[in-house]
């Protein structure tokens, strides 16, 4: 795994360094009076005059000691931005969205399968397709417009949802007694409602369909018919025999979605002004803030490699026929 991570970091670093232009291009655009010599001095000051491999090994040496360098755009240590600020926020948003999607999709999928071709099934199917095919940038703005503008305009008592998803309250205010813990949590939760709803919609819709299809397939299997023939109650047949088997493909899908939880959701984060990993990666690439981009991308490479390894190991646990030697 170590050679793999080393290779990944070399590739990421090289690609970033090979991006056209450098962080000083913007400066040259803004200040027509700046001369080539002065730019060269700035380039030296930022270490941009050194060859890529020198910059890479300097970065690697520091990164191995946990120092990911300074962010040029945030004026803070890159590691602190990624691991101290962005990652926890992303985990909250994406984790909440994933949980909501699961909590809704599985029961609704089961319901839809059990009542196949009923009016409720058609309604659920319709909304699943709508949810699945709705682009998130559109859904996000639609939710914002609906809950922050239109509904409060129409219904005077309707709570006006905030456009910003980050609370102004800080933990230090709870510690100093300025606000209560309940106020702190309440404000955070209230502001997360819309982004969580937007982010979970697609997964919710997709998993509902998967759950329905998977359960229907299982319900048509011989062993389910046998269970029914044995005279078992419908609840036992459904929840003990059918559902457990039907959940296996869903577990795989959820497993695949987990690394995405760490990577953030750039569009949702952008629309709802939520500073998570997605935006950190996107902004750092646009702004050519190499230290932040490297910290985030190297971390994602590590996660991907680790989850792949874990998945391989889990197969052996789940399926006794697989053995590693």
């Amino acid at each position: 795994m170590i050679p793999l991570l080393f290779a990944a970091s070399v590739v990421i670093f090289t690609l970033l360094a090979l991006q056209p232009g450098d962080p000083l291009d913007e400066l040259r655009q803004q200040n027509p009076r700046i001369t080539a010599e002065q730019l060269e001095q700035l380039r030296r000051a930022y270490g941009l005059d050194q060859p890529i491999y020198v910059r890479y090994f300097k970065w690697l040496g520091r990164a191995l000691q946990g120092d990911f360098g300074q962010s040029r755009t945030y004026a803070s240590p890159a590691g602190q931005i990624i691991f101290g600020q962005r990652l926890p926020r992303t985990l909250v948003l994406s984790g909440a969205a994933l949980t909501l999607a699961l909590l809704v999709a599985i029961p609704v999928g089961i319901f839809s399968a059990v009542r196949q071709y009923s009016r409720a099934d058609y309604v659920i199917t319709f909304f699943s397709f709508v949810g699945f095919s709705m682009p998130i940038f559109f859904l996000g703005i639609l939710l914002l417009f609906l809950f922050a503008v239109w509904l409060p305009e129409q219904i005077p008592w309707f709570p006006k949802f905030p456009v910003q998803s980050i609370s102004d309250f800080q933990w230090s205010q709870v510690q100093s007694g300025e606000i209560t813990f309940l106020q702190f949590i309440g404000d955070w939760a209230f502001k997360l409602v819309l982004p969580v709803l937007a982010l979970s919609t697609i997964q919710m819709a997709a998993w509902t369909r998967y759950m329905r299809a998977s359960l229907l397939e299982v319900l048509n299997q011989d062993y389910v018919r046998t269970a029914r023939a044995k005279g078992l109650g419908e609840r036992v047949v459904l929840y003990k025999h059918a559902l457990r088997n039907a959940l296996i493909p869903i577990v795989t899908l959820v497993g695949l979605a987990i690394p995405g939880v760490f990577g953030g959701a750039v569009i949702t984060e952008t629309i709802f002004s939520y500073p998570g990993m997605g935006r950190a990666i996107f902004d750092s690439l646009v702004e050519k803030d190499y230290n932040v981009a490297m910290a985030a991308l190297a971390f994602l490479a590590l996660l991907t490699a680790t989850f792949n390894l874990l998945a391989d190991l889990m197969y052996a646990v789940v399926d006794p026929r697989i053995r590693y030697s």
């Binding site: 400066l27 456009v163 910003q164 309940l182």
Partner: protein, 624 residues
Amino acid sequence: MNRYSKIVALGLTLVAGAALAGPADNSLVVGASQEPRVLAGDFLNVISNQSIKVEIENYLFAPLIVQNLRAENEAVLATEVPTLANRRLRVTDIGGGKRRLEIDITLKPNLRWSDGDPLDTDDFAFYFEVGKAKGMALNNPDYWERVNLRVRDKQNMTVIFEPAYYYDTYGSPMGYAPVHKMGPEWEKVKAAAAPLNPDRDAQRLNELYRNFFQQFSSNQAINAGRMVYSGPFRVQRWVSNSSIELVRNPNFNAITPQGGANNYVQRVIYRIIQNTNSLLVAILGGGIDATSTVGISADQARSKQLTSRAAGRFDIWAIPGAIWEHIDINKFTNVQRVRDLTLDDKRTRQALLHAINRDAWVQAFFDGAEPVSHTWVAPSNPLFNPNVKKYEYNPARARELLAQVGWRPGPDGILQRTVDGRTVRFELDWVTTAGNAIRARTQQLFIEQWRQVGIAVKTANAPSAVVFADDFIQRAEEGKWVFFMFAWVSSLAEDGNLFQFKNLNTGAQLVPSKENNYAGQNIGNWRNDEFDRLTSQGVLEFDEARRKQLFARAQEIWAEELPALPLRFRSNFLVVRSGLVNYVASTYSGGNGYPGWNAWEIGWASRGAAKRHDQAQAGGIAIK
């Protein structure tokens, strides 16, 4: 309080939060789509020179002299504006065509920082010392190479420029920083920097300096109260990625607005909503009183959702800005394509401009909120000459000019001519930044109009990072581009550098070529010796009337020769809640066109704030 009543109280607080904003509690909520990376302590803009940082700092630091809506100097911390008439400005010839400028400044008495410490010339001397430190990565090195400071006493100082240019008299000639707060740390930095060599240890020096500024400008430093302020506001709290709350600074005494400071906003909250569509929703929802310069786009400002809800609630203003959209044309005659297409002939360039309908374009695309430009100088610049040759939409004249150059319609209607036995068709490759919707739509429109006169234009767009990289934009000599649409900032401190072949004062050649290591902004290679002489002389002219004459003639020459196709000046769009007064901007208000240059007098009429400025009179175009 039981659990349920707490929840109800929380809900009411959240709902009431929005209703309390604005005149009710004499506060102002400004919506911005960008967050400053740092604030306040980075006084030389070494870490960041973002617009939003500079705009917010308008509230936090009062300048010596501010440039008002008409770009005229007004004294703030200084007792009076230095002029030749009051002898506070002294210009002397120092030989070799160079001049020296001395500016005497007297500080108003009893100026104070927000912590109550006196603000005096020591703070200016400190700023000067830091700016002059070896290896400092400055954004405006030419200023620092020419400036000097002589402190006479705690209230009086002289700023000296050598060689001096007229624009050294614009705005504040010198900045300042709180030596009582930052001085001790700076002494440590100086000691650490002493053994370092600016050439060999540039990166180490830069890290040292950046760390120093960061200690007084990062989010943590600001929230920990490590910085002090001199403007009408100080930072109360900065919630990263969310908001920056400023409250009135009781120690600001340089200017007392009419009726007293209590009649004006007491709290300013910058709300950071990066996605401009979301920012628009926040405005519609009523949570925003005004937008920052870094706010919504032209399309959003003119959107039906906003304009239909604006009556009686908001004023929407287009403020013509200094960003000049144009098409640069390659005129390097060593490039075969340039010779083939006769782009080095002014008649071809004039024909290209006659063939496009820029008036209809700004009307259709921007409802007229962004003015057509006729030269590179912004109309708000005191040096602007309105009486230059203008190229109205006239396809017949365009065809006539092209015929004079030797172009004849080919069988498919595209112009062609014969060069050394070859048939050359008039086919242009047009480069601009990919992903810019307005530029892409503009291309579609103009391509169609050029086709009408027989010119075939193809787009060859690429990302900004590619086209603005040195090995592209600076390499017209190698034929990397022939027709390139982008924007320059038209500076108030106009010096003609963008189109000079050679600066006669410095001797610098400004056309990028191998000889000058591809430096300079005259990227399309235009050479006009009279233009060079007029503009080089103009920057040395301290008599405004004579300076205007020189630049007026330079603009006439430019408009006749047309080294680039002038398109329009972009506007900044401000949404301002009805009843909010003096939240105004112009192209060069405060030197850079941001609102907040007069932060002390922004207020709500219903709270007793007196209206001193009118946006319409300051060039603002109302959007209905």
